[in-house]
């Protein structure tokens, strides 16, 4: 398995468009790295550069201590699930999965064994003789995964490999991928839009935006300690609510005020705000939907107007407004509010985030 290292990697298109900017990242051996970011931010491009499918405009890419910028894809010994599957239309599912092994001159019975096993894992054993054109979308995607996991390359690159699978299969696949990672000690670089995948699978998450790395950290860290407003808003679903608030000193307490609502900051926050001179200025307050509770002390209460209610089985999402700011609140199904009502909710002040108005950096990031 392999470690990878990006040094100032940039990718610019002929038309001057820069898709990946100044990318610096070390990926350790056996890491399960998750790449996330909004659609079009350059995730696939990054994978493609690692694979050698795109020339690196500037910067260096090292794999296992070797400079790889000029190495051809087939000499890199990687393996990739394409976002677009890229199955060979003239080969059967079996042949598709066996192709990479055949190219590497793996003996026939070994191929058979590995493909058989992969097909079982992916529940596609009954499809082995079909051509891709006779498969459903999810089945194609599983074949694409299959042709990757049969191999044991230096690193696996996976571009949204589970996007077309149903929830159940997806969670099974998650388990299988985790197993592969554990058992083979594989280095995996994984692009996904699924928050659950990102949070559960990865040893580290890299959040990108417009080709720039925003934060690279463990899932928990990313969730608890987003480096800036973008990361905070991007990770977590439904995403964090942001309000511009005034930081005001009310007696001993530091208050966060917006409209008629006043929240009293906890100690750590207060300290930071005072130290960094935010008192009297406006900052962004970020509260995740699940950090609202039905009950709590009065000083954490805010009122909001319910506009819509989404019942999700285990919980209810209330969409509404506080002073024209849209807000989403996640409460337990016991709460019986209807659209049109004004609902009091209580903010878990230990879990709020605060961001600078201009730089959008997290103020209390530790």
């Amino acid at each position: 398995m392999a470690s990878l290292s990006f040094v100032n990697v940039c990718k610019t298109y002929k038309n001057g468009l820069t898709v990946v900017k100044d990318f610096n990242l070390d990926i350790k051996d056996r890491e399960f790295l998750i790449l996330v970011g909004p659609s079009g931010c350059g995730k696939s491009m990054t994978l493609r550069m690692i694979a050698g499918l795109e020339d690196i405009t500037s910067g260096e890419l090292w794999i296992d201590g070797q400079l790889m910028n000029m190495t051809s894809p087939q000499s890199r010994d990687l393996s990739m699930v394409f976002q677009s599957y890229a199955l060979y239309p003239h080969l059967t599912v079996y042949q598709n999965m066996a192709f990479g092994l055949k190219v590497h001159k793996v003996p026939k019975d070994e191929i058979e064994k590995r493909v058989g096993r992969a097909a079982e894992i992916l529940h596609i054993s009954h499809l082995l003789d079909r051509k891709p054109s006779a498969l459903s979308g999810g089945q194609k995607q599983r074949v694409a995964i299959g042709s990757v996991i049969v191999r044991q390359p230096k690193a696996y690159l996976m571009d949204e490999p589970l996007s077309n699978l149903d929830a159940k299969l997806r969670s099974q696949m998650r388990v299988e991928l985790a197993k592969i990672h554990r058992e083979l000690g594989a280095t995996i670089i994984y692009v996904t839009h699924d928050q659950v995948e990102a949070m559960t699978l990865g040893t580290r998450i890299v959040v990108m935006n417009s080709g720039v790395i925003q934060q690279a950290a463990s899932p928990n860290d990313i969730y608890e300690n987003p480096v800036n407003k973008f990361v905070a808003g991007f990770i977590g679903s439904p995403s964090m609510n942001f309000f511009p608030v005034w930081v005001a000193r009310r007696g001993e307490k530091i208050c966060l005020e917006f409209g008629k609502n006043k929240l009293i900051a906890n100690e750590i926050c207060s300290k930071r705000l005072v130290e960094d001179g935010y008192v009297g200025r406006r900052v962004y307050l970020g509260i995740r939907p699940e950090d609202f509770h039905e009950e709590g002390p009065e000083e954490q209460k805010i009122l909001f107007d319910v506009e819509m209610k989404e019942v999700l089985g285990a919980e209810i999402l209330f969409h509404g407004r506080i002073n024209r700011e849209e807000i989403c609140v996640r409460l337990s199904p016991n709460v019986k509010a209807e659209p049109g009502e004004r609902l009091p909710v209580y903010v878990d002040m230990d879990r709020i985030k605060l961001f600078d108005m201009d730089t959008e950096q997290n103020i209390i990031y530790v």
Binding site: A86, V103, K140
Partner: protein, 302 residues
């Protein structure tokens, strides 16, 4: 769960509905069949139009020559005869010629597909300096009139002592700009991600060409192969110039041998033409399988 339709459907009685349904289906089926039928008719008309000269040639080949030279209508031979074919067979060693032609045309076809697909692969999948220039050079070769090079080429091959051998018939034709160009155009619409996927799977370029590219561009290769084969089959000037003996000669020269300056027997010549078309038709029919629709369907998303 009752919708408007089913309730409505329940109101009219079921038989009536069945009838309605059947008639609708029948109408649609009829329309579909009529469409197919029309397609066949149009095709029939078109193919007869295209084939007329050939059919007529076949008909002439079966005519005694006296029937041809008449001002009356003579679409179909009145007294069909095989005499013309027999004569043609007797006059020239057609078997040997056909074997030669097959061998030569086969080698040329194979060689061209190989060299052209390699070059076209490079032109469409790889990036290198001077690509456009080089491509223009290749294109330029297509524009050189054959008459302008034939004599020099003759001198070249005679200098190499290749005259009157298979070499001389095959080697100068082992590649063609047209083939390179054709393949390049086809590769243009080839889903690039298949190439990428193969490369990541550790596939070398050569392997990609033979296990992915060639199977997937079968239709282009089919067209090209048929064309090359038939062109090689139909070569006249060059084989005439560089071969001397009947051992090496090809079928078109055979046709020439049926043509005698002062006493042309047209029907016999046509019989010869018809006879040598038959092998080329068989090649075509064999190659036709490749022209299947929808090669890339379902290969990639988006």
């Amino acid at each position: 769960m009752d919708s408007v339709i089913t309730t409505a459907a329940k109101e009219i009685n079921r038989d009536e509905l069945e009838k309605l349904k059947r008639s609708a289906t029948q109408k649609a089926l009829f329309r579909r069949r009529a469409g197919k039928f029309a397609l066949v008719i149009v095709n029939l008309a078109m193919s007869i139009f295209v084939l007329l000269p050939l059919l007529y040639a076949v008909s002439i080949a079966f005519m005694p020559s006296s029937e041809l030279f008449t001002t009356e209508m003579n679409l179909i031979p009145g007294n069909p005869t095989l005499e013309n074919f027999r004569q043609a067979m007797v006059k020239i060693p057609l078997n040997r010629f056909i074997v030669n032609s097959f061998f030569v045309a086969g080698c040329i076809t194979f060689g061209q597909i190989l060299s052209c697909s390699l070059a076209a692969f490079s032109f469409s999948f790889l990036d290198f300096k001077g690509k456009n220039l080089l491509f223009m050079v290749v294109m330029a070769t297509m524009m050189i009139p054959g008459e302008a090079t034939i004599i020099s080429n003759y001198l070249t091959v005679s200098g190499l002592h290749w005259l009157d051998s298979y070499n001389v018939l095959i080697i100068p034709y082992l590649t063609s700009a047209m083939g390179i160009f054709l393949f390049r155009q086809f590769y243009k619409s080839f889903p690039i991600s298949l190439y990428e996927s193969a490369r990541i799977d550790g596939c070398s370029n050569l392997r990609f060409i033979y296990s992915i590219l060639i199977p997937l561009t079968k239709s282009a290769i089919g067209a090209m192969a048929v064309y090359t084969f038939i062109n090689a089959w139909n070569m006249y000037m060059w084989p005439l110039l560089v071969t001397g003996s009947d051992r090496m000669r090809t079928v078109q020269i055979g046709i020439g041998m049926l043509d005698s300056v002062d006493s042309q027997s047209i029907s016999m010549m046509i019989a010869g033409v018809v006879m040598i078309i038959i092998p080329s038709i068989s090649v075509f029919i064999a190659g036709q399988r490749q022209l299947i629709r929808g090669m890339f369907s379902g290969a990639v998303k988006g």
